[in-house]
Amino acid sequence: MIPKNLEKQLNILDFSLSSLWRRKLKNLGLMLVFALVIFLLGSFQMLTGALTNSAEAVLVNTPDITIQKISAGRQEAIPLGYIEKLHPIYGIRAIIPRVWGYYFDESNLANFTILALESDAMPYASNLNLTLVHGHFPKRTEQGNAVIGRSVQDILGLDGRRVFSLFRPDLSLKSFNVIGLFSQQTDLLTNDLIVMNLDDARDLFAMPPSVATDLCVYVANPTEIETIAKKIAGVLPDTRVLTKKQIQKTYQVVFSWRSGFASICLLTALVAFVILAWDKASGLSPEEKREIGILKILGWETGDILAVRFWESTLVSSLAFIIGCTAAYIHVAFFDATLLKPVMVGWSVIHPPFRLLPSVTLADLLLIFTFSVLPYLGATIIPAWRCSTVPPDSVIR
């Protein structure tokens, strides 16, 4: 036995559905546009959330402190003599110089990241070869060998070959032998990497042996990182000292509602809703007004008419919300966020595959719900209430 009140609501729901179905083209179109806006917002939120979560999960092992030399507001090579200046600071476990930079491949218009360091001195050095499908990292004595990321292999067309050449700044060629390939599982980090030993990188970039690109500092006690970073900044005033915490924080803020594209998406969605709300609030159509008048003559109360409008709006907006969010998940999880990816990678020639778990949090869903469903409910119920309080004979006349 269904309670009387529930039965009444079910009847009103039936009436609302029939009413929606009578104007199905208009309502389905509205729902589709609505779902599209929610899909766009949801996709953006799920993708950026997934990237932020991935960064948070994998960047836990970044160097404790990174030191870069700054001159005239720009980063430049740091002299290895600076390592000596840091030795008196108590608590530093290791200082490892790195040479890294970008190599622009003019024939393919691709930017590769070249990285060189003494990997044997780094944490997890003994396990580092696990990140490769095959091969090993070049040792200090192994000249002319390199480990490459999967996109580098594809772009340079190295499927059947093991040797490739890069140009030095004076346009002379330097050849490398591929001795290892990064695994697909590390694509999110190593897709565009070419790892070689320090001497090769200095030769390629024409850097003198007395400098490096930056210094990685490892600290014995992690709680002292901030203190030691301050001491380093004091000893080396011409440097920028980045701590692990700052690096990890970057990805928590780099994709946010303040970032440009997100603002555009949000603004577009909001403008769409403002137009919709304006259209709805400016009044019901004469046909809709007459329908309300007839219902009132038949004995319907204002509350019942409002309930019909409420059900109609709730159905359209809630279904659009569910469909939009579901489509957003499918877009990010199964289609690598195809619609957002071109904007995200810009003019990049290297397109790393995004194997990400879409981030679906209650806070994000509530945010999208608040921006989409609630304004629509307000915009449709208020004019219905205004109309339903008018005497019916004046409406149907």
Binding site: P123, Y124, T131, L242, Q246, F255
Partner: protein
């Protein structure tokens, strides 16, 4: 069949789809855990600081360690012009030298 019954069936169908997607998310999370073990080793062993997402500009390839003025370094008064620059927010540590 009442229209409301058709609606309930449609909502059930949507819930079923979302349920399957939830199971997919659980499975993907498990798969990604093994990836993350290797990714953590790569980060530690190579001292990596950034995700490889956009490779067009140094400040979007390595936002965590990039020179804060890199987007505007072409000439005095230069504006930032890479498409990804409009998508990425400025990192928090740009306030520092």
């Amino acid at each position: 069949m009442r229209p409301s019954h058709k609606l309930f069936i449609f909502i059930l169908l949507l819930m079923l789809v979302d349920g399957v997607l939830y199971l997919h998310a659980k499975r993907l999370d498990n798969d990604l855990k093994s990836d993350r073990v290797l990714q953590k080793i790569a980060v530690a062993g190579l001292g990596l600081t950034d995700l490889c997402i956009a490779t067009e500009a140094r400040y979007t390839r390595h936002p965590a360690v990039s020179d804060p003025m890199a987007p505007f370094m072409d000439h005095p008064g230069a504006i930032e012009h890479f498409p990804t620059g409009s998508f990425w927010n400025a990192p928090e540590n740009t306030g520092q030298r």
